[in-house]
């Protein structure tokens, strides 16, 4: 049994806690997150780095929800084709969401994972929060 447990210890990531960065509704209903640096992350990561990540995310969401000629054109085209056009192509919003997913993956690989942190894509939490999981190191073989 002990052997199995230590194997499991090796396989499983360590204990973790979560920090949530909430939405900032100060500019209305657009998707935007607070850039305030949570104190729980202080020992792990640079304040500037974190704020830059959140700010980039905010900018990307703003790009997705931007009202302008391009989005109006897309809307009108969709209406004319009775929205069947979206069977063939993605909406602008979906394209930007994919971009955001790539950015988060990239940030996780380069910056957050080496520091024992993990960013969860806000879309998986209904765009309510940016969830940051803090992994605590546990020594291997210390199982029950």
């Amino acid at each position: 049994m002990a052997e199995t447990h230590s194997l499991q210890d090796l396989q499983q990531p360590t204990a973790s806690s979560k920090v949530f960065v909430q939405r900032d509704y100060g500019s209305g209903t657009i998707s935007k997150f607070h850039t305030k640096f949570p104190s729980e992350l202080e020992p792990r990561i640079d304040k500037q780095q974190f704020e830059e990540t959140i700010q980039t995310l905010n900018n990307l969401y703003a790009e997705a929800e931007k009202l302008g000629g391009k989005s109006y054109l897309e809307g009108c085209l969709a209406c004319i084709t009775a929205y069947t056009i979206f069977l063939c192509m993605e909406t602008h919003y979906e394209k930007v969401l994919k971009k955001i997913a790539r950015y988060i993956k990239d940030q996780n690989e380069k910056i957050y994972a080496p520091r024992g942190l993990l960013l969860t894509d806000p879309i998986e939490r209904g765009l309510r929060v940016v969830e940051i999981t803090i992994f605590e190191e546990r020594s291997i073989g210390s199982g029950r």
Binding site: P13, Q22, L67, S71, E74, G75, A82, Y93, E94, R125
Partner: protein, 509 residues
């Protein structure tokens, strides 16, 4: 699990056995249960079709009535009136009629079947985190906490964000909780029984196009049926004309009664779109200048054209609830035990799915949920409790009370806002009362009152404890005797408060 004893020997044997059994999976005991999609354990009260591609509200009877009315009336028009009109006047008439009919049907189905902008419920970790923050903000734990609201300044206007006890989130601005569907919906306009769905951020434009095109279609059919009768009367007399084309009479009657209501509704929503308000906000007079000189709509873009473009042609956000995604469940050996999120999503919702419609259990669940939420840090147990347990609980009872009641009565337990009733009668929206109400008075009452009902003049009303429920012995008591997990004592008091509130609610009925 006795494999580990002499692991080298046993492991060899074990792996031999597993390769002989040779499943394509990595481990033999992985995923005994088939993968379920997330819509199958959705906590709200919605119906899903086509394997999660389509979603509607629970009660869809009126939607079928709408469909029947439209299809039958148009069918009669094309069968009985169009041949005459095509010959006498121009064949363009049936063509235009056909195009309008297809557009109406398309927008109706799109409104009815799409996700209105449902906000997924908070994961247990999020809910616990919010509870902690609220506790810190409140300070005292000995008293009943004040209603949970957060104030936010948007473009210079102070807006109160309310906490949704069902979904365990602070509702974004303009979102509201639909009691019929038991979901928080973004930019909630109203719940429309005629389309069998809520009207919210993602389907408002389809709803608007539906009522606009239906207005045109109704007027079109009405005028051409009248033309048909008149032309026939010139030839053979009025009574003979009616006898020759009896369907026309039915069409005229249907169209006559529909045209007032639908054209009125279209006009109302045109006004709402141009001022960037929801039905909710308009009825409550949230941004009315009567409330104060400095009261203005912070969401408006400033001019009518931009508001219209934004509402109708703006970017369409994708659905936040991922109906067709697979639930990541049943892998305790491989998934880290502390990754409670997806597993909760599976286990909690599976449980709530199994225990639906049992009001007694639901009410007890709610009460116990408040006490047991911190214990949900343990992921390996099938935990019933969490944000998503109030599944089907109070509302069947509440809904039936509403349906039975008069048009202007609000759902039980909610005080009538003093400004709303007069605003209903003197507003141009007064057309809506007879409209939705002409054959389904109670449904209409519901349609309009849903927005008011969701404005939570009492926060305890958000507590989904239904009238008439008696606290039962807890059948789920055993689910709480899980392995003692990590729990946060700091949040116990507020949760106890919740449970006390729940019990008070239960006993007050």
């Amino acid at each position: 699990m006795h494999l580990g004893v002499s692991e080298s020997m046993r492991e060899c044997e074990y792996s031999q056995i597993s390769t002989r059994n040779s499943t394509p999976m990595e481990t033999p005991y992985k995923k005994k249960t088939p993968k379920r999609r997330k819509w199958e354990s959705f906590p709200g009260r919605n119906k899903f079709y086509c394997n999660g591609r389509l979603m509607m509200a629970k009660q869809t009877g009126v939607f079928y009535l709408t469909l029947v009315l439209i299809i039958v009336t148009c069918g009669l028009f094309f069968t009985f009136d169009c041949p005459f009109l095509a010959l006498e006047l121009t064949p363009v008439i049936p063509v235009i009629g056909g195009v309008l009919f297809m557009f109406v049907l398309g927008t109706l189905l799109r409104t009815s079947f799409s996700d209105p902008g449902v906000l997924p419920r908070a994961t247990p970790d999020e809910a616990a985190d919010l509870e902690r923050q609220i506790d810190v903000a409140n300070g005292s734990t000995g008293y009943r906490p004040p209603p949970r609201t957060k104030e936010v300044v948007i473009n210079g206007q102070t807006v109160k964000l309310k906490y949704c006890f069902t979904c365990k989130i602070f509702r974004p601005p303009r979102a509201s909780h639909c009691s019929l569907c038991d979901n928080c919906v973004e930019r909630f306009d109203h719940h429309c029984p005629w389309v069998g769905n809520c009207v919210g951020r993602r389907n408002y434009r389809f709803f608007y196009m539906f009522i606009l095109s239906l207005s045109f279609l109704t007027i079109f059919i009405f005028s051409f049926v009248i033309t048909h009768i008149i032309l026939r009367s010139h030839r053979s007399g009025f009574l003979k004309a009616l006898k020759d084309s009896p369907a026309s009479v039915l069409e005229v009657v249907v169209c006559f009664f529909s045209v007032w209501s639908i054209v009125g509704l279209s006009g109302f929503h045109t006004y709402l779109i141009s001022s960037n308000q929801t039905t909710n906000e308009d009825i409550k007079g949230s941004w009315s200048s009567k409330r104060g000189k400095d009261n203005y709509n912070p969401y408006s873009h400033g001019n009518i054209f931009t508001n219209c473009c934004a509402a109708l042609c703006g970017p369409l956000p994708p659905s936040l609830i991922d109906r067709r995604g697979f639930i990541q469940s049943g892998m305790p050996q491989l998934a880290p035990p502390t990754n409670g999120i997806t597993m909760y999503g599976a286990t909690q919702s599976q449980q709530s799915h199994m225990c639906d419609q049992d009001q007694c259990i639901q009410s007890t669940k709610f009460v116990l949920q408040a006490a047991a939420t911190p214990l949900l840090q343990q992921s390996s147990d099938p935990v019933i409790l969490t944000a998503s347990t109030e599944n089907g609980g109070p509302l069947p009872g509440r809904t039936s009370l509403n349906l039975g009641g008069p048009c202007t009565s609000l759902p039980l337990g909610q005080p009538t806002p003093p400004t709303s009733t007069p605003s209903l009668s003197c507003h141009e929206a007064s057309d809506i009362l007879p409209i939705h109400g002409h054959s389904h008075a109670h449904n209409h009452g519901h349609t309009l009152q849903e927005p008011m009902a969701h404005h939570h003049f009492l926060t305890p009303e958000e507590v989904p404890s239904p009238p008439g429920m008696l606290p039962c012995g807890s059948p789920m008591g055993h689910s709480h005797t899980m392995q003692a997990g990590f729990y946060n004592p700091a949040s116990q008091d507020s949760l106890h408060e919740d449970s006390v509130r729940g019990l008070v609610k239960l006993s007050s009925v």
